[in-house]
Symmetry: C2
Subunit: 102 residues, 2 copies
């Protein structure tokens, strides 16, 4: 649940797509895997990364593992952004400071 993990997790197109597909329903590992041209094992590895980043939570019931969005990961992202936006925005406001102490 560190920004490092969240950014890295979302830096991959497959994992971002998985997140989109979980937006309105929980899905099993197999269901998640279906559209991708890769092995179940690979999908499982992607899911482990998403879970470690706090972007999904999973629960195994019987032989099926159900995967669902975990808002905690998104929260980390928002915190990170919120902390920097005011400081970074002001750079745009008062221009002409490109040549400070370089």
């Amino acid at each position: 649940m560190t920004p490092e993990r969240v950014f890295q997790a979302l830096g991959d197109a497959t994992r971002r797509d998985m997140m989109e597909r979980l937006t309105d329903t929980a899905l099993s590992v197999s269901a998640l895997a279906a559209p991708y041209d890769m092995t179940l094992t690979a999908v499982g590895q992607h899911l482990a990364i998403l879970e470690a980043a706090g972007l999904i939570k999973t629960e195994k019931i019987g032989r099926v593992r159900s995967c669902a969005i975990n808002p905690a990961g998104l929260e980390v992202l928002e915190q990170w952004t919120r902390a920097r936006r005011p400081l970074w925005q002001r750079r745009l406001d008062n221009l002409g400071d490109m040549l400070d102490e370089t």
Copy 2:
């Protein structure tokens, strides 16, 4: 300036640190490179990635390239988050839907 590039750029600790150091002042490539145990070339490569992601803007004056925050990249991040937060948050609100059509 695509989310792909922004996430990938911020997934690296060195690059995130560079962004922090640019928060309150523009810096030259050499100044940025100073604290890191890596070659100037490597630093230049990191900067190219940050610039392609829209996280910094650079300008070369004489032989010095000045690097500064570009809020555009952060903006992309916020847009991405803002679009998903309402949809992802509601999952937490009405629990017990882990076992939908799996």
